[in-house]
Each structure stands twice: as C-alpha cells, then as structure tokens.
Symmetry: C2
Subunit: 415 residues, 2 copies
Amino acid sequence: MRCDVLAIGTELLLGQIVDTNSAWIGEQLALAGVDCLLQVKVGDNQARIAQAISEALSRADAVVCCGGLGPTQDDITREAIALVMGVELETRPELVEVIRGLFAGRGREMPANNLRQAQVPVGAAVIPQTRGTAPGLICPIGDRVVYALPGVPHEMKEMLARAVLPDLVARAGESVTIRSRVLRTWGLGESAVAERLAPRLGALDSAGNPTIAFLASGVEGIKVRITARGTGADPAGAAESLLAGEEAEVRALLGDLVFGVDDQTMEAAVGASLLAAGKTLAVAESLTGGMIGARLTAIPGASDWFRGGVVSYASEVKWKVLGVTEGPVVTGSAAVEMAGGARRLLGADVGLAVTGVAGPTEQEGQPVGTVWVGLAGLGEHRAKRLQLGGDREHIRQMTVISAGDILRRALLAGG
Amino acid sequence: MRCDVLAIGTELLLGQIVDTNSAWIGEQLALAGVDCLLQVKVGDNQARIAQAISEALSRADAVVCCGGLGPTQDDITREAIALVMGVELETRPELVEVIRGLFAGRGREMPANNLRQAQVPVGAAVIPQTRGTAPGLICPIGDRVVYALPGVPHEMKEMLARAVLPDLVARAGESVTIRSRVLRTWGLGESAVAERLAPRLGALDSAGNPTIAFLASGVEGIKVRITARGTGADPAGAAESLLAGEEAEVRALLGDLVFGVDDQTMEAAVGASLLAAGKTLAVAESLTGGMIGARLTAIPGASDWFRGGVVSYASEVKWKVLGVTEGPVVTGSAAVEMAGGARRLLGADVGLAVTGVAGPTEQEGQPVGTVWVGLAGLGEHRAKRLQLGGDREHIRQMTVISAGDILRRALLAGG
C-alpha cells in the first residue's frame, strides 16, 4: 500500500508558512505500515492541483491532499478533485445545516461563502468535522482513492487519525490498529540507552511487533518509542495490551532514567514530584537568567509548589542578596550557598541553584560549559558539576533540564 | 523563469525532520522574481530521485535539489543527476585536496567515504564550499539546469545566495539584484501600521519598485519588509540606494514604533538602549516567572547592563523580599513597588516589574490577561496597565515584549 501526500497552498511555496503537515502525515503513515514515497507542495491553481493529483495516482494507491478546503475563492481543492474524478460538485443539504449551525452556535450569520464548504464531488464520502467548518472528503477513483483534509494542523490530525488511517488500513485488507508511546529519558546518551535495552532489543528482533525506536532529541533527552500493532477481533485492545507489556519490560531496564511519557516535560515531572512530596521550591539562577523559573511557571498550578527565584546574574547579587561568601562564584560551594540563600530568602522547603559559564568567553579561569548545580533542603546540601558543550544557548538549555533532573532524582530518593 | 525545488531524504518523508529548506528557497526565489510552482520531497532512492528531477525539468527551467550530498552510501544525489544528464561521475583532484585539507585542519585523517564528495557529473560546474565538506553543483542539461545543494540549512542558504540566485538571474538574461530589509515594530496592529504608511503605499503603487509588505508575527510584532530591485551597471548599488531611500521615508512615518531591524529582537533593542544610556537594570517578575531575565541574558555581554532579578511568584515574596505593601498584587502600585524593590535590592539604576493574571483562572477578581508593568528609576515611578488576550503562554509572551517596549521607550525619552 502506497499513499503519497499533496500539500496545497501558494503560501507554502512562498515560504510564508512552513509545511509541517506532510512530515506529520508521513510519520503516521509509516507507523501504520503504509509507504509514503513522494510528498508534493503545489499552489492554489486548479490545473496544477489536478495534475499533481493525477500524477500521484499514477504512482500510488492513495493520496492525501491537505489544504484548500476553506470558504474563499482560492480554496479550490474540491474543484480540482472533481476534475480528476470527471464529476460535478453537488451541494449536500445536511452539510449546509451543520455549517449554518456552527455559526448560529457562535451567534453569527453564516457568510454565503461558507456554502462552498458544503459542496462535494458526486460520489465522494464526507468526513464530518469535529473542530472547524471544512468537512473532509474520501473520493474513490477506480481502485484508488483521494483524501482531502483541511490544512489547519489540529483539524487535519484529528481527521487523519479518525477516518483516513482506518480507511487506508481497511483498503489494505487488514484490521490493524497501531499504538505508540514515548518514554522520555535523561542522563545517558543514545548508545548507552540502547545498551541498557539490549536484552529487549534482542528479544524483539524475531517478532517485529512491538518495535522499539530511539530518537535523540537534544535538550529534551533521548526518547524511546514503543510501537505495537494489534490485529484480530479487538485490534485496539490487542495493541494496548502489547504496548503495556513492553512498557513494563522497558521501564524495568531503564529505571529512573525515565522522567516522562509522551508530551510530559522535565518541568512537569519536577512539579509532580514536588507536589507528591508536599514541598515548595525556590530557585537561584545565574547563567540561565530566569529560564528555570520561566519553564516551571509555564505549568498551570505551579503556585502550589513554586515560591519564586532570584536571578543573580551579577556576582554582587549572589554575595549581597543570597549571602554567598565573597569570592569565586563558579564553584560547588557557591552553588550550594545560592540554593540555601534562595530557600531562606523566599521561604521554601527546597532550594535549587545553577552557576556557570555560558560563554562566549571563560570566567574565573573556568572554561565555557562549566556549570555547578546546587541543592539545599533535601538531606545533605550538595552540588554537582557538569561540563556541557555547544554554544551559549545550548549550554543554558542543557543546564535547565540537567538541574531539573537532579532535583527530580533527589525528590525520588526521598530527599 | 520557473525554478522548482526537490528536497531529498527519506528522513523528510518519515517526518523525522521537517523540511524547512524548501520554504526558505521558495521565498528567496519569489524575492528574485523567479516562479516556484512545485516543491517535491523524495527519499534516498536513485530511480525516484532521477525521475523527480526529469519530471521537474519537463515543467520548469531549473530545479534546485537539496540534500543527499553527504559522504555515505545513501547520499546519491550526484549519481541521480548524472543519470538524468546521461553522463558518468568523475573525481576532481582539486576537490579531493580541499576536502583532505579540511580534515587535516581539524587534525583528522579524511575517511575514504568523503572521496565521494569529490565526485562530479562530467560537464557540471562546482560551487565551492565555505562552511562544510560537500561542494554544490551546477549541472546544465540542454537549455535547463539542475542545482545541487547540501541539506544542512546554513550551508544551503549561503550557497543559494552566493551562486544559485546570481546564476538563475543571469540565465534570465537580466542583471538584477534584490535587497530587502525588515523594520520590526511594536505597539500597533497590522491595519494601523498600514494606515500610518498609507502615504507611502499610495506613492509606491505606480512604480512597483521598491515594494512594502506587512507580516504580522504575533508576539514579535508587525514586521514591515521593504524590497528593492536594482538593475543597470551596478545593480547591487542601485538596490541598496533604493532601499535606503525608502527606509528613511518609512521610518519618518513610523517613528519610535520601530524597535529593530532584520533579526534584531526587542531584548537586543532594550540592551542597546541601556548601554547607550549607561544604566543597569534589575527586574521583578511575577506571571512571567523569569522569562524577561531569560531573554535579556540570551544576549552575550548582558552583564554590562543586567544585574539580575527576583521572580516573585508567591505574593509573600512580593511583600517580604521586594517590600511591596501587603494586599492585592495585581495593581499598578504593586508593580511600581516591585520595580522599586528589585532596583534597591539588586543595586541597579532602573527597575522593571510585571504582575498580572496569566490564567487559567482569574485572580483577586481581575480577569485573565490583566497585566501591570511598573518602572522605577527613570524619572517618575509609573505603571501601565495591559489587557492581553490568548492563552497562558501567549499572555506571558506578550507581557515580556510589551514590558521591553515600555522600558525601551522610557529610555528613548531620556528617562
């Protein structure tokens, strides 16, 4: 089964918007076992869209079109598909009612233009909208098929998962459900994580389902993606069950390297750990300039466990505001004193501090990338030294997630 | 003149990397007056790459290929182009020397694989590398041409500007140079900025060169892009001269709405203003949790004008650490007291503070999006109220840039 992708919109060719939809669709197709060998971007021109669809169908069993389903005159994907199908557009009264109802629900009159979104090539099936006004389309052409989805990413993603992937899989003659889960790790490199998982990787090679893949995500750590394929009477249940079993095996090998699942960030993990421990946090930041506080407070409800922080960028601020002993500030003892100072000053249970050299030049004779993380209020006060690579921004980002991980582990260990 | 784009790499189809190169190339082609009507992504398969190139040349005068010039066996763009040209690859000794020299410069032996990067289709011209090891190619096929560029964005961009655009323009038979400049504004919406510029827009309509375009960039403000086209004996000089003249006209109408040029951020503008005024800054942040400090310290050399800050997330931190009068904290007087407290505590000339409601729920009876910005140390202490829309993250981002702009204007006004 091969399904190519056609992204439609002049703004994509002009670089006013980067087409991220095709990449996401390609990933989903691969997960579903469908080949995607060509992805094309074309502008809002009916002849060129129709030609691109025809060419795609000459190579592939299916094509997903994305964009050009809006209400305005330059949204012509419907017309182009009808041209390729050799049929007319017809207005579906039930779609008119749905779209009129959506406007009425917002207390607005439906603009006449939106009637265009109720037009469908004769012989096409409709994918109902759950989020916007543009319905999707499933358009059979002989033994091939053209799908049309809106260009708005969250509308497109929902329709692809709900209607397109199941239809493709059904056409492939199998009842298959794919499920995947990402375990997010911090603390080891990609090859070291793979080494830890070697026993499972060896065991999986023979079966091919589930699979384990690694994704090195820079300052987000190494992601381990488990993907399972379910078939039979209850394919979803079968996939979930395989996934849960494999997740347990992988977690047994990775232990506390795993800080989050799927979209869970390190700062969310830190917040959850603090909440579970019933402790509040104060931070003292030097080279990160406020990034740790900014990330933690991106989480709604952070006020339950975050008191605040001191950005002690100048050395005098470390000495005079945080009570650090006057002298060098890129040291473990300065990091510990900063953490203790922030904890006392802000009245928190736990203090976390970072001090170091983000560059571009060395400081106190310490090379760029030298960073100390200090902890206070969880058992013994302590500091950990990091030696980070990359440019100024990379060093700052690595400091933020490393400091979060150190705090998370200390909380896990019970202080 | 039509030039299509072919992005090469299986990882692009699988969604492991989003292809941003095509969009950027499309924008540059449009600026140079070249039509780009189709952009295609294809995997690392020689037959499919060759077919995609042939199809592109059947429609367009030129095609830019991007990616697949690396040293490994799956980098086969060179082979695919030679196939389309109907020629062999030959090893260019001078390229071998350049690549060997690059490795020697890093104290390393050249791996044998890198010899592949010295192979060139017979009849092709080389675009020398200035940043990496993979040279680019200019491959004439009849009256058409295929360009091959590396997939690494900064290498690709440099080669496109240096070699591909001039070659395309020369083939088009004109000696044309395009120059553009972006003026970044904050404080008015897109239509209000356009209204201010109405006299210029009216004057330009007849000529068509230079042009003015607007780009609404959310939390980065409204960007005004001036583009000029130079021809004649000194096209670059002509373009620059037109650009400079138009920039002066636009600036006369926009005044201090303009905070930066091209890639200059608001925080860079704030830093430059502080440096010019010879003043140091301390910040007090509530809803932004450290974002203002984080942005300011992203600028190398920030220690010349940034002392640090207090993230007073909990109300008690505002009262006890910053000396704010106990009571409501989402008020103008609290913002002013926070600014004054940060200034005193951290020993800075100027204090800047933000307090407000990022949501998701209201606070002290104030609706989500209510934000106060306080200033201390520049003439009269003062506060300004903002009412911002959007979600929690949008409100926080809007607060950061708005506060920066308030400080920038106060410094411009001489305190």
